[in-house]
């Protein structure tokens, strides 16, 4: 039993070793982004302390290449060799966010049209008071009046898109090469599907974002 455990822990170590990264705040080690300005000493010392503590339990790698759905709840140093290249990440994330923005704007204009129409015809339509779409500082905000606010932003260091939803709360999406979509590892939810489902629930009308 003990030897099996030892064997397992060795295998684990071997698997993890190539993935472990020097702590990002350790200024003496080569950094993947050499142009980083130095951080305050207080921060870097406390952070490196924490990062050192993290390393033995590091079981989660923010890797967007293969989809590891086992979302262990430990923090992780990021292995920059296995994640998306930064420019590739920006390309994919910007594309997604811009696409969503356009779709939201379409819904918005449709909403305005149908609202006017309903005003005249008392027809059925999507009615959201206080609908507002805003994109600034790389953050997409969709306000649905009293229904709440969606916020989508890029989290470049871990190559994720973060979503804050009034319905499902916070979630973090990684790019999945296999399905070519953004996937939340914990629930396996796809970004666009999650938004479609929630918006449909909130607005009472089918919403197509693809």
């Amino acid at each position: 039993m003990a030897s099996l455990l030892r064997h397992l822990s060795l295998t684990r170590t071997r698997r993890l070793l190539p993935l472990s990264n020097p702590p990002l705040c350790n200024r003496s080690s080569p950094s993947p982004q050499p142009s980083r300005p130095p951080r305050g000493l207080r921060f870097s010392s406390s952070l490196s302390q924490i990062t050192r503590n993290l390393r033995p339990t590091n079981s989660r790698v923010f890797c967007s290449r293969s989809l590891d759905l086992d979302d262990a709840q430990g923090p992780a140093a990021i292995d920059y060799r296995s994640v998306l290249q930064e420019d590739e990440f920006h390309r994919l994330a910007d594309e997604t966010i811009q696409d969503l923005q356009e779709k939201f704007e379409e819904i918005d204009s449709h909403h305005r049209l149908s609202f006017r129409k309903s005003f005249l015809e008392y027809g059925d339509c999507i009615q959201i008071d206080g609908l507002d779409i805003d994109y600034g500082n790389q953050v997409l905000t969709l306000k649905l009046g009293s229904l709440g606010t969606y916020v989508l932003n890029k989290q470049t260091p871990n190559r994720q898109i973060w979503l804050s939803s009034p319905a499902s709360g916070p979630s973090r999406f990684d790019w999945d090469q296999t399905s070519q979509t953004w996937v939340y590892r914990r629930t396996k939810a796809k970004l666009s599907q999650l938004l479609e489902n929630e918006l449909e629930q909130l607005c009472g009308k089918p919403i197509n974002l693809s």
Binding site: M1, R36, F43, L47, I50, L54, P75, P157, N158
Partner: protein, 174 residues
């Protein structure tokens, strides 16, 4: 990102003279006005500190991604009955992350482990009236609580496993 980091603060070792600095820091960031509870927990974080992570009665939850600057460590001290008798935290992150973890330590104290794993990020976010972008901080606090309980239980079962495994090993050797 690093510019943001410059604004980030840590709740570790807040001294009185540092409080003033931190307060100013939040005022600069806080054009959107945080709820008074966030400001209160930020200026007077409860239960800041560390327990010995090797102590078998201690569970340590360490969550976040160092690269984005938010790292939260929450520790619980558990008695025989599974009750959390003490809790502490250290957080490297924004005011909302500090407030979320500070609240989390208050909420877990005196409660059973099975109770605290049901604490949802939404409860923390609601209590602190966090704005939508800051919901992620309350999620981190929820994760930290769960990770601490998980760590405690893993430690406990490892100790029990060793106790049970010893006679078997001896038998095998014999």
């Amino acid at each position: 990102m690093l510019r943001n980091l410059g604004r980030r603060i840590t709740a570790v070792g807040l001294g009185h003279h540092q409080n003033a600095h931190h307060h100013n820091n939040l005022a600069v960031v806080g054009a959107r006005l945080y709820h008074e509870r966030v400001v209160d927990h930020y200026n007077n974080p409860r239960n800041v500190g560390s327990f010995d992570k090797n102590d078998p009665t201690v569970g340590t939850g360490l969550v976040g991604a160092p690269a984005c600057g938010d790292v939260m460590k929450l520790q619980i001290k558990v008695d025989e009955s599974g009750k959390i008798v003490d809790a502490c935290f250290k957080t490297f992150g924004c005011g909302s992350a500090i407030a979320s973890s500070s609240v989390a330590t208050e909420w877990v104290k005196g409660r059973q482990m099975e109770e605290v794993v049901t604490i949802k990020n939404t409860e923390i976010a609601k209590h602190l009236s966090l704005p939508p972008v800051k919901l992620h901080c309350s999620m981190l606090a929820e994760d930290a609580i769960k990770a601490a309980v998980k760590d405690y239980e893993a430690k406990k079962s490892k100790i029990q496993g060793n106790v049970e495994a010893t006679p078997v090993e001896k038998a095998a050797e014999a």
